[in-house]
Symmetry: C2
Subunit: 124 residues, 2 copies
């Protein structure tokens, strides 16, 4: 059962989602899913608002979980390429399904939000 005793152990979902439930991980995975191999600054350019620090942190975390692999080429100037591991690709499939759901239902959610704001703030 979930949530009765040690929620961490019995419910890996929470643990897993705690990892890529942050601001940038999912984005990063989706980007790497589109293009197979990307260099640091290519990724940074595509993820729009991300700072280099957060991208570094995110990539490290994904690497730690075995979702992303990091290839360093000892050249001058240095080159580092990131790509999804097989595990990362299998997660990608789930995220794409979730993305499809989101695209399909975004309007319903936006409508619900409007209805909600009108219900709580019938002011003016």
């Amino acid at each position: 059962m979930c949530g009765k005793g040690e929620s961490e152990e019995c419910c890996p979902v929470k643990d897993i989602l705690a990892r890529f439930g942050d601001k940038w991980s999912i984005y990063t995975i989706l980007m790497l899913g589109k293009q197979e191999k990307l260099r640091f600054n290519e990724l940074k350019a595509q993820i729009t608002g991300v700072s280099q620090r957060m991208l570094t942190v995110t990539l490290r975390s994904l690497e730690e979980d075995g979702l992303v692999s990091r290839a360093v080429y000892p050249e001058i100037p240095p080159r580092v390429e990131y790509s999804l591991t097989p595990l990362g690709k299998s997660l990608l499939l789930q995220l794409l399904a979730l993305a499809d759901w989101a695209k399909l239902n975004i309007n319903q959610i936006l409508e619900a939000r409007e209805r909600y704001s009108k219900k709580t703030q019938p002011i003016s």
Copy 2:
């Protein structure tokens, strides 16, 4: 394309996930998926570590997005029952798929983490 210009608009995924990508939303949805109808304190008891404030906030947010419905019974003492809306149930399906993925791959991830920690800290 995602991430080139207005990432919010072109990628509803991010927006959606920003909503239930927090600490408790997914848990809450999974709980409501199991039991159909739950009162506030029942939920609170099952979600283990959640504070009553965070549960309130989470439920409000889910209600606002039309994922959860809230039924208030004007009794003494008051009773409030929460349940998933049809939209919430459709999301539940996605989350269950994600949960399955997590359960299936949690070991690989844990192994990857161990490998990583040994790679970076060969100390002692």
